[in-house]
Symmetry: C3
Subunit: 347 residues, 3 copies
């Protein structure tokens, strides 16, 4: 079990006196921590709870004031978020994985190529001519279709489905239950029925992408749907055919991207945000949670609302809307006053 001194060393910050005698067995929230746990204090609000917490010690944002008795139980750091990553890694239990090799219940096509160190769990299916890179882990029930190419050190969680002809980079994580490669949603009414537009394209997922659970990414009509390097996608997100997502985007849960939407680098979309088909958002643009982005958004611009407007305008309209019921009354009163004035003058 690490000591407070070990943690101080890990975070590269001064250790309080006696820190080598304080054992720490976990990170815990300030109101749940027990006497052998460490907590995180990144604001004055949490600092006030230090007087009542049971925690043995705290990692504290440098500018935050702590009670005097906490001075020698605190590790002061420049950035509690970065510090928490290191400390959580220290305490992280290993994620169970199937052993390297092919589970006897897995169905791997003879023509599939598995590099060294690949782990294939129970009931996994790997199709013809699929290629799986070194160290990649396929958990139970994963489906990898024909001609899929997967890079190195990827991890696909149970029941993830990667259909045929998709290309996935290295260090890509796909969580349980997600589906890549469903046909894009395209039909053409012929007067009697909706004709299906063939969706013959593919999907390209770049390196270091993480995809949550129950995410649906559709294959392109032709060409490719693309997810840029380092982009992170939360659960239950819909990515339509031919969508182009740039690198390092953050797509929060339940977002919907309609066909051919295009996001630049570092775009952030809040939960349940919807982006209309063919809409383009520039580098560093953002759509607020629950907003409906129906027009192109310039780089570095935040939009919000339904339909989404520049955030400042949206806030102004919301503020005005709060006053609207009163405004209706005021206008009625003005109408009466004017009628009075008109009568007076006419008289």
């Amino acid at each position: 079990m690490p000591t407070l001194a070990d943690i101080a060393q890990l975070l590269n910050c001064p250790a309080p006196a006696g820190a080598e005698r304080v054992s720490i067995n976990a990170v815990a929230a300030i109101d749940e921590a027990t006497a052998d746990q460490i907590t995180l204090v990144n604001s004055e609000r949490y600092a006030t709870q230090l007087s009542t917490t049971q925690a043995a010690a705290a990692i504290v944002q440098r500018r935050v004031k702590v009670p005097a008795e906490w001075e020698n139980r605190s590790l002061f750091v420049d950035d509690t978020d970065l510090a928490s990553i290191k400390v959580l890694e220290l305490f992280a239990p290993p994620v169970p994985k199937p052993p390297i090799g092919i589970d006897p219940t897995a169905r791997v096509a003879p023509s599939a190529q598995l590099a060294d160190g690949v782990a294939v769990g129970p009931n996994v299916v790997v199709g013809n001519d699929a290629r799986i890179g070194r160290g990649t882990v396929l958990h139970a029930g994963v489906f990898v279709g024909d001609n899929v190419a997967v890079g190195e050190q990827c991890e696909f969680f149970p029941h993830a489905v990667i259909r045929e002809r998709i290309t996935i980079g290295s260090r890509v994580i796909i969580h349980a239950g997600s589906v890549l490669g469903t046909d894009g949603f395209g039909y053409r009414w012929d007067g009697r029925q909706h004709l299906k537009v063939p969706q013959i394209g593919t999907i390209i997922v770049d390196d270091d992408v993480e995809i949550g659970s129950c995410v649906c990414i559709d294959r392109a009509k032709f060409g490719a749907t693309r997810i840029g390097r380092g982009t992170k996608i939360d659960n239950l997100v819909q990515v339509g055919h031919n969508v182009q997502i740039g690198p390092h985007c953050i797509i929060v849960g339940q977002v919907g991207l309609a066909g051919s939407a295009k996001l630049g680098a570092g775009v952030v979309l809040g939960g349940q945000c919807a982006v209309r088909d063919h809409v383009q958002m520039g580098d560093g643009a953002a759509g607020a949670a629950c907003s409906a982005v129906a027009e192109d958004v310039p780089p570095q611009t935040i939009v919000s609302g339904t339909p989404a407007l520049p955030h400042r305008q949206s806030l102004r309209e919301q503020a005005a809307l709060r006053r609207l019921p009163d405004l209706v009354v005021q206008v009625r009163k003005l109408q009466e006053q004017i009628k009075e004035l008109q009568k007076h003058i006419a008289g």
Copy 2:
């Protein structure tokens, strides 16, 4: 096949004359019922359809008037909803389950502990040191990770995924395709990339919870995401890391709860409602369908709209908004009238 008299006895209400000669083979909607079926009438609106229905009999809310010829074909009850539960149970076909024991295609770790009466279906995976309580049913393709603890009489439907180190109470139902235990969505930009914040916590699901299909519940960053006793969650709901849901909540389809949101007891969230991260809703609070709850909600308070406001205020604003286009015209007219008056007086 039960008779109308049997059903009267079940509902503890008087049987009409001859009820023992009327066989009933199903419950059906008033406009679909055939001559050997019973229907439900809980409002005057349905009562008017009694004159045309083919149904043999009706269960009628006591205060509702029925046509004279229906007096002796109706069972009058205090609460048609409660009555319908009893009658539907009477006609419910049994839900097929795998037989007790372990299917030969299932992969149960030797160190897993299965209590008496557990049924493990085809292609199920149960991980190391998992514990499954008495009478629990794991349908085909269910994945239960290492060190998961499941209580008694649970039922997990096909392909549900319960990842490692999660604790689930008794009589919990998890429907097909849901995923518990995906990493929470947490990253920290380091200037070059999004660093992944380790998500080392767990999930605790209390007794008598029901979880729909394709629901995603993320594990906590540290500590636990919690679903309180008796809470019911519909399909396609997103529950972020460290969310705390109290007992007896009702979470309708496609709701999204962002990280660390906290719901008290008996909170109701309508379909597609979104709750911002760290927002707290008090006991008995409610968020309307399609609302976006961005601020704390006191107990017993209904909010609606995007952003969500107290429901009465929201209704007032909506009503005023309906008049807004006219208001714009009225204000323009007022401006002209005032200009006239000013001219008149100046003249």
Copy 3:
């Protein structure tokens, strides 16, 4: 590899001179096409890009003007959408399918009836007394419950779950990860707990329906949830119990249909649209993306907004809302002017 002449023949349009010497290996977007690919031009906007594209040829909407040098590299058609369907079919790689017969890892109940030409992939489960029609394909991990009836030439993609007693027509496509037959979401508070209302009904899916990935369709409380002939449903859609969807509807991604909602023929719902329980939408009605349909919608009527209003009214309100912040200022100014006038007159 087809030539441009072959494609001209396929589209029944004149071939430019030398078309039989131009080989085409794929369809590609105008800004991505290489020298052996054909592109699509359905608007002037794309036509202007013809001067810079590398494409060998183009399929052009008849009314669109192309640069002179493109006259003899263009195939002019009445409808590029219909033409694209034919050309995409020409280049479509075959979708991999399990071979006809039953994979040795599949679990097919002895009492199940499989017609000729059925393909059952790895780890598929087919329950007791299920009936699968001629030529239907069940990809890896599909679950078909007891007493399910499936028509001919259907295709269910990996891990789709069709629970017991459901009826599915012919030529129905269900994409990976979708779940049909989960209990409808119905409870009754008894003062202590939410009693579960038994959901004993079923689902009927008509011919030629296509259902995307991670779609949830709940079984009826009693009677049937119905999806009409030729209706197309995108990913992550929620269909509540007893919903009735007419023929030829288009339901875009992340739509939510609450219990007993009823759609006529040819209804279109944009992405994330929500329809309240028991609401009826007439034939040819439409709900815009992100709208919340809370009241019945007459036939051939488009509604938009939250709550949804007739689209024209919604647009008028949105336009007025854009002016609301200014309106607040104008009203304040009017109030001051009137005060001035009143003072003047009183004086």
